[in-house]
């Protein structure tokens, strides 16, 4: 009987937290994938995230910026200091002004932010038929459905159904709200050549780049879950001890 009171109490606290789930708006039916980073113990599949970075660098970064990410952050998916320095050095960034007051450029450093493909939003629109490719730093968190949505979007290009008139320069996509997206299909089979020999099917590329986008959107996730497991275990023990103390204290009360 004793744990019942406690369970009741926990339920009371937790119950309302779950209610909003039932209230979620009717999201489109998205096919679900298994993700290495899902669940309470999930981590980013290092190899997949590194391949995903390659896809980002060779494909997406032509249009999409990633302004909140440093090159050094790549250590989170297993790149070592030397690899990161080499990756950063492939770009030219502004070094401010030199001693003569002249602006100059220098090779990128690990402490630099990812270099954006366009100088500003207007330039990005001009190059993309008027549409703005959104920054990808937290893009995965910014869409209902998260990783599943990104994957489905990237693999969801198809011919428009008969009778549907497409806007100028628009592409049909099964999962994009409204089905007309300004981004042309970015991924195709063998779009990139993976150095680890993985076959670059469109599904594989989409899965890899989505894993990478999940990492850049939530770089703290692995540490968060590790700390969380410790916190929950500690709190569970503390709850047990506290409850035992409470029962001791109340043992002699007629109530």
């Amino acid at each position: 009987m004793r744990p019942v009171a406690l369970a009741l109490f926990a339920g009371l606290l937790a119950g309302p937290a779950l209610v909003p789930a039932a209230f979620a708006q009717d999201a489109a039916d998205l096919p679900k994938q298994n993700w290495s980073f899902a669940g309470p113990f999930g981590t980013y599949d290092r190899a997949s995230a590194q391949r995903g970075f390659q896809v980002y660098k060779e494909v997406c970064s032509a249009c999409h910026s990633m302004k909140l990410v440093h090159y050094r952050d790549l250590s989170g998916i297993g790149f070592d200091a030397k690899q990161i320095a080499a990756i950063a050095a492939t770009v030219e960034v502004s070094g401010g002004v030199n001693d003569d007051g002249e602006p100059f450029n220098r090779p990128g450093l690990p402490s630099d932010m990812f270099k954006s493909p366009f100088a500003n939003d207007n330039a990005a629109r001009a190059a993309n038929n008027g549409a703005l490719p959104p920054d990808q730093s937290v893009l995965l968190n910014a869409r209902e459905g998260g990783a599943d949505y990104i994957y489905d979007l990237l693999t969801g290009y198809a011919d428009p159904p008969a009778g549907m008139t497409m806007g100028d320069g628009m592409n049909y996509n099964k999962y994009f709200p409204g089905h007309q997206i300004a981004m042309g299909q970015p991924l195709h089979d063998d779009q990139v050549v993976y150095s680890d020999g993985t076959k670059a099917t469109i599904e594989q590329e989409a899965r890899d780049v989505t894993t990478f986008l999940a990492f850049v959107a939530n770089p703290e996730m692995e540490e968060r879950k590790r700390l969380g497991a410790k916190a929950i275990i500690f709190l569970a023990l503390l709850t047990g001890v506290t409850y035992a103390v409470k029962r001791r204290v109340w043992a002699d009360v007629d109530h």
Binding site: M1, R2, V4, A5, L6, L8, F9, A10, L12, L13, A14, P16, A17, V19, P20, A21, A22, F23, A24, Q25, D26, P40, K67, L68, D73, P134, S137, V138, L139, N141, A142, R143, E144, G146, P177, A217, P219, E220, R224, K225, L227, G228, A229, A231, I232, L235, A236, L238, T239, T242, Y243, V245, K246, R247, V249, W250, A251, V253, D254, H255
Partner: protein, 425 residues
């Protein structure tokens, strides 16, 4: 009336201070020996939980403010920087955002407790009114806090809600201009919201102090809703209720940890990961979950002024609840009809919450109107009448009497009471 306090503390340092400023005597009186009804169930944890939750919000908020930039061109990025580049910044931010949700869960349960056991009735009317003031302040604080990260929902939520004030006749537009500090939600709005968001929790502390001061004058209500008659009915607050509150706090911390560490964005809206864009209205403007029932009431009335009045009215009725409820019996345990009505009201509010999360189309309009009507019917019609017609059950003579007999039955919460009385087995 001046004069040194005759302190009973033996520790010389404490005695020295207490003689000059008797805070130790006060703490001992109000939280040590304070006589508290012996029959509390776990619903009586939630006031203490709310206090701790408020402190958590202030503690995390102060550190967030050290790294936050209240400028429309930098606010979004500064928040993302806190998440990425500040040591344990993600922990601070997720504690603060999920802490706000927990705060509302705790306070909503706390209010439910007050309603179910009739804690608002004489002589606790003012205590209750201070509680409703706390609720309003909390809502204002949470609303302004949500604007600070300057995402799409921040911006458009602020626009929709501040615009409501324009419905007020004559002065409405001036009020809106004042809130905005200009002619649209912009940098001045963000600046004043930040300033007020930092200020209000300290006002809350002051009102909570008054709330607790009033509580310590009337003494606590209890699940039976009858007055304390003899010292046998009470226990000293410490160690009995400090121990019991600690259990609740551990469970509260566990729920919060589960959210923060494993589902930190579960209660949030993805659209707030998109920087605010005044030129692009999101497909759907939805407030945080804890405002959904009120948002539903707002949208259920076809007229703007009417909707705004009903929305604010839904909280105003709480102020006069002590006088709307005419029954002399406090606890729902002895009020067979009121007990059912309380649970119907809970379902009604959940329905309103669901309505608030959906576009006002089709069936949702019907549900929204019906549950809005029921909400006001409950408070304005049923409660005043119920006091006259309801046949209440006989009240026990004292708190110790039913306790000694091993608990009395009845009511959906009898399970908790029974579990409690069996604890000594």
């Amino acid at each position: 009336m001046a004069g040194l306090h005759n302190s009973e503390f033996s520790n010389p340092v404490i005695n020295w201070i207490d003689t000059r400023l008797p805070i130790f005597t006060m703490m001992q009186k109000e939280y040590g020996s304070f006589p508290t009804p012996k029959n509390f169930n776990y619903f009586w944890n939630f006031g203490a939980l709310a206090t701790v939750n408020l402190l958590l919000m202030i503690a995390t908020g102060v550190f967030l403010a050290m790294n936050y930039t209240p400028n429309t061109s930098m606010a979004f990025e500064s928040v993302q920087r806190i998440m990425r580049d500040v040591n344990y910044g993600w922990l601070l931010r997720y504690l603060h955002s999920n802490g706000a949700s927990m705060f509302f869960i705790v306070v909503y349960i706390h209010i439910f407790r007050g309603m179910y056991y009739g804690s608002y009735k004489k002589p606790r009317e003012l205590l209750w009114i201070l509680g409703v003031v706390i609720l309003l302040l909390m809502m204002a604080t949470a609303f302004m806090g949500y604007v600070l990260p300057w995402g799409q929902m921040s911006y458009w939520g602020a626009t929709v809600i501040t615009n409501l004030f324009s419905a007020i006749p004559l002065v409405g537009d001036s009020i809106v201009t004042l809130l905005w500090g200009g002619f649209s939600v912009d940098n001045p709005t963000l600046n004043r919201f930040f300033s007020l968001h930092y200020l209000m929790p300290f006002v809350l502390i002051a009102v909570v102090f008054l709330h607790v001061a009033a509580l310590h004058i009337t003494g606590s209500n209890n699940p039976l809703g009858i007055d304390v008659k003899t010292p046998q009915d009470t226990l000293p607050f410490h160690p009995y209720y400090t121990a019991k509150d600690s259990v609740g706090m551990c469970v509260w911390a566990m729920v919060l940890a589960a959210l923060v560490f494993f589902a930190p964005n579960f209660l949030g809206d993805p659209a707030n990961f998109i920087p605010a864009n005044p030129l692009q209205t999101p497909a759907e403007i939805v407030p945080e979950w804890y405002f959904l029932p009120f948002y539903a009431i707002l949208r259920s009335v076809p007229d703007k002024l009417g909707g705004v009045s009903m929305m604010f009215g839904s909280i105003i009725v709480l102020f006069i609840l002590p006088w709307l409820d005419t029954s002399p019996v406090r606890s729902a345990r002895f009020r067979p009809i009121y007990r059912v009505l309380m649970w119907v009201l809970v379902i009604d509010l959940l329905a309103l919450g669901a309505v608030g999360a959906h576009r006002p189309e089709g069936i949702w309009v019907v549900i929204g109107r019906a549950s809005t009507a029921w909400y006001f019917l409950h408070f304005l019609v049923l409660l005043p009448l119920l006091g006259k017609f309801e046949k209440t059950l006989p009240l026990p003579d004292s708190i110790s009497q039913p306790v000694l007999k091993g608990g009395i039955g009845g009511g959906p919460l009898a399970g908790a009471a029974a579990a409690q009385s069996m604890e000594k087995n």
